[in-house]
Symmetry: C2
């Protein structure tokens, strides 16, 4: 049997399948992009499609109203194929666009943060230069008197510009040389890399194309972000992001490693990130920047250790199994062609070095971007992602550890969670008496609420706690118009009634959401706590706190402290530094010096394995309260009584 | 509709096709090997298949007897598909074997010639060493106390053996590292290339596999030969040859270049040599040598300029068009993976340098093998192939030119021509009075005649001329039992009547065959003549004549002189040096020094373009007689009157 996907704004896609196949998985297999941040467990309600013809066997979801169900709307993750059918997949183009709009660096605030980080790196002495260049060459055509063959002619022309260099012409250029020279009357552009006293050709094309482009990639467990960069000016040409397609093999790294160990697993997991995630974004970015994929001459990747192994198709079993020794920390030698990425196949892919099984290149790149390696003061760097990673130290030492926080900070694992796109509630205050919310919604003025993004979740939990609506365990202890309970007695707080929301569906946060979040913030705080203890330091010795991650610039640090997520230091010491892995990757793709510096940072960083560290579990259990079982750690946390 | 090929000793192969499709081309498309040295023009009669079911529209051929026709035998080149049908393809396995048996280096004589050439190269100071090696490594497995990641562990182990080298681990090795180390308890072999102060890993495998193998390739316009070589000892592990699959796009280089210029032509011609010719031979050689394809760490190619361009898929139009400037003469940078050859994808493919549009790497490699670059005496080096190439000179200068001889020397273009395999008449004398032949047939004693190979053709024409059976124009002028004429009066000489032959078919040589051959030998001699004149020298100044090519060690030099093919010098001055392109390729794959020397030889060689050289055409016309219009050039040529 087969399923036809009618993609809004695109061509239909058909795929052969069997009865019982999961519709979301089919869509992934068919390379049809459907948003599913919760990894297909039915909790996020993002993967909506509309049945046009035929039947599906679908679980009823609270994300689909009766009226919507009536006209065919289903969650693809909760639908099984029972026969031939056709489904409508809404607005992929605009979904991509909205993703791109909400990508890191999409808001003026994030761009400012990004620019500030780059400026700081320059001030730290990192030179933003690289060895890639485009040469505009004009040659004479061969004549009976001038019978130099094409490759020697090209070599001479390059040497006329660069002086006494050896010129390497690889097959990919050689095979197109004769044709390209003649097509453009011997006036061409050659792009390549200066390698000491050699020039390595990477591309030959017409004279008008002189683009020399890099691509910086941040591969998160949940979200992937990319920027295309002009390697000459450092200017950002395009940016985009999307969910990590591996999510259907597990929301966390452990499940994905297990999946990779099954027969065919290495290829499945690699395809999910390379073919299904990176390739479509990259192709889109090239299109929007109007550059040819072959103009991309270097890529850089900031990703955690597991993501790096899965990306390469390298066996990651040793990452999760005693003695937790991965296949590599740092490794040079990857080419875009090895992964069949839509870029110049000869383009090196720089992988930010990992330093442990659970502190990876995203953190070394992020640490590079944070600048803490250049300071005398003691800094705490916290990357809030599916995994939370912490680095503490200064120019003399750097100590790191990691914990599993889950996707709560990125809007996953939360029933009305979403990324910080249009309609996301990103900040809220509650009137203590009436419990009425005052919300900030991402988007144009008048935008109604669709869901709650990471910073909004921190705010609402903090406000619920401050107003005494929930207790230290996150359970509802006040009643009111916006406090509802379901048949099982589970409480929830309604931020937007159906008539107030954009979608006609209620936006709320319930006790399960709050519990999920408390575990996430507890993991983060206990990791910070354990790391500080390991170096025999205390919270009051922290001079700076840099918070990074997809949670967004809207994060209210005071509220994050209030609920015991971040350490209770003066609020002025906090900075949000955006997607620092992407910022670091950007620096590395543009700057040879940044690559060297990142390697140095990694070499100087010590890794603390929390899972085997005495005291970590106790610290975690103690941190799973609002703000903490030991309230003395959070003197400024308030619950107005 | 479809055709099913029932391959003797193999699995049937089916291919979709259209009415009117040529059966031989279909076979090529379906990768079904059918011998067709005449390039499918119906003259060689080698491409016999037997119709089992359905119909074919076939031209009647003198190569198929009525009885054979009755039971379904057809020439595949002369058959068109008219509907579904099944054809039997005889004994591909044994056909391949017989090809391998008849490969260069298959006879003790050829091996002796080959060994002599290698010995001479060593004596000329060429060191038979290369930088490829297999390292047997034993490592400790990781423990909680020894948490070095896999790639660093490997690097240390390599450095423990080789000292202070940088180790490059490319993706192909990295991706298999974790798994291979653990599969073999951290005892592995790493194969790679020493590059100055670096070691470049190319393969990781179990400890028992330590093969370090090279592959030397001679790509002729008509025939392709290969040897697998142990790169450590220089020992030949396997050898094989077959027809060049490009032959269906033309027997000569010009037609193939034209074909390459058509849409999709670059890929078609490249596939014909890479996928259809080199790949099956190479896979066969690996199987017979019991080595893994990934053990092949270097390849070398001796091929003419056009073959080199077509091999690479590089536009060859400029080779045949004014000003005859090819895309490259020499080029480094090709990897086996670029061509998807069944070898280590990282293995460099060394291409013997071309020096002109029509003097290619087969000639520079052959010149290297001939040793004439190391002598004081004046030597003439003649490579008899589809193209004839001539080099003249000594250690002080080398001058070269080329002419188009056609496939006559390899048994093509001759009605009963065949390669020097079992049943080939390779030498003959005639009784002047009775005209009865005394033949030497390749094979076991008692082997009956099947056809005539190159050396046999020289002999029979020389003998026919000597006995006054043909005149200087190659026309029959005596009658007798063995001299027959067809309905159009065309004469032929019967070497074996049907009842005397192996196949029950007559083996003979006719006036068209003789005319084809005279043109071929005329081209060769006039090229020699023109080259000598260009350097202002004469035949008597020649100290050595080295004859190379697939014509075989059976060549009777005296007869070749007698018919005016080779210059009339003392018979002691002639040496047959076999397939010198393959010999030179062998030297280059084993010896880094040979690669350098070949480049030096190429750099010192001057190229004379005959097609535009005044006097060449006149010389050619004068040479198209037996022995020549100017008999004074051949004082020792005899016609017993």
């Amino acid at each position: 049997m087969k399923v036809t996907f009618q993609i809004e704004g695109g061509s239909p896609v058909q795929i052969e399948c069997n009865a019982g196949d999961n519709l979301l998985e089919l869509a992934r297999r068919a390379n049809v992009a459907i948003d599913a941040p919760c990894s297909g467990n039915g909790s996020c309600g993002k993967c909506r499609v509309q049945l046009v013809e035929g039947q599906l066997e679908s679980l009823k979801s609270r994300h689909i109203t009766d009226e919507e169900y009536e006209v065919g709307w289903r969650l693809s993750c909760s639908s099984k194929v029972v026969g031939d059918c056709t489904v409508f997949v809404p607005d992929i183009a605009s979904a991509y666009q909205s993703r791109m709009k909400t990508a890191d660096l999409s808001s003026p605030e994030e761009v400012a943060i990004f620019d500030h980080a780059q400026k700081a790196l320059r001030e730290s002495g990192i030179v933003f230069e690289n060895r890639f260049q485009a040469l505009s060459l004009e040659m004479d055509a061969p004549t009976p008197e001038d019978t130099m063959p094409d490759n020697e002619r090209l070599t001479w022309a390059i040497q006329a510009q660069l002086g006494d260099v050896a010129v390497d012409i690889p097959y990919a250029v050689m095979v197109r040389l004769a044709h390209t020279l003649r097509e453009h009357d011997f006036k061409v552009t050659v792009k390549g890399e200066r390698r000491g006293d050699r020039f390595f050709c990477m591309e030959i094309c017409g004279p008008e194309d002189t683009d020399v482009v890099g691509c910086a990639i941040d591969i998160g467990t949940t979200t992937v972000s990319m920027v295309l960069v002009d390697l000459t000016s450092g200017r950002i040409l395009a940016k985009g992001s999307s969910g990590n397609g591996q999510i259907r093999y597990g929301a966390d790294v452990i499940n994905r490693i297990i999946e990779q160990g099954r027969p065919g697993g290495k290829k499945k997991l690699q395809d999910a990130i390379v073919k299904e995630t990176l390739t479509p974004i990259l192709a889109n970015l090239c299109k929007s920047a109007k550059i040819s994929a072959r103009s991309i001459l270097r890529l850089s990747v900031g990703a955690n250790t597991t993501m790096n192994h899965l990306l390469l198709g390298v066996d990651a079993q040793s990452v999760r199994m005693d003695p937790y020794v991965p296949s590599f920390f740092s490794w040079e030698g990857l080419l875009a062609g090895d992964l069949k990425l839509p870029a110049n196949p000869l383009a090196p892919v720089v992988i930010a070095p990992n330093i442990g099984s659970y502190v990876g290149g995203d953190i070394t790149a992020g640490t590079l971007a944070s600048g803490i390696w250049d300071k005398d003061e003691m800094s705490l760097f916290i990357d809030l992602g599916t995994n939370g990673e912490i680095v503490f130290g200064n120019r003399d030492f750097l100590m790191s550890c990691a914990c599993s926080a889950g996707p709560a900070f990125e809007g996953g694992d939360i029933s009305c969670g979403m990324r910080a796109t249009d309609g996301a509630m990103e900040a809220v205050t509650l009137d203590k008496d009436t419990m009425e919310p005052t919300m900030e919604i991402v988007g144009e003025p008048g935008q109604k609420c669709v869901g709650i993004c990471g910073s909004g979740i921190i705010d609402i939990i903090s406000e619920l706690y401050r107003c005494g609506i929930i207790n230290a365990k996150g359970l509802f202890v006040r009643e009111g118009r916006r406090v509802k309970r379901d048949a099982h007695g589970m409480g929830r707080f309604v931020l937007a009634f159906p008539e107030e929301s954009e979608t006609g569906r209620e936006v709320s946060i319930n006790e399960v959401d709050i519990d999920n979040f408390i575990r996430a913030k507890g993991a983060i705080f206990s990791a910070i706590d354990t790391l500080l203890r390991a170096v025999d330091m205390t919270v009051d010795m922290i001079d700076h706190v840099y918070v990074a991650g997809g949670i967004g610039s809207g994060i209210n640090m005071r509220n994050a402290v209030n609920i015991g997520m971040l350490p209770d230091v003066e609020i002025e010491k906090f900075s949000y530094i955006g997607n620092s892995s992407l910022t670091g990757s950007y620096a590395m793709v543009v700057s040879d010096g940044a690559i060297a510096k990142c390697a140095e940072v990694a070499a100087n960083m010590t890794y603390l394995e929390l899972s085997t560290h005495p005291g970590y579990m106790d610290s975690f259990v103690a941190a799973c309260f609002i703000p903490h079982t030991d309230r003395s750690l959070f003197p400024s946390s308030v619950q107005e009584g």
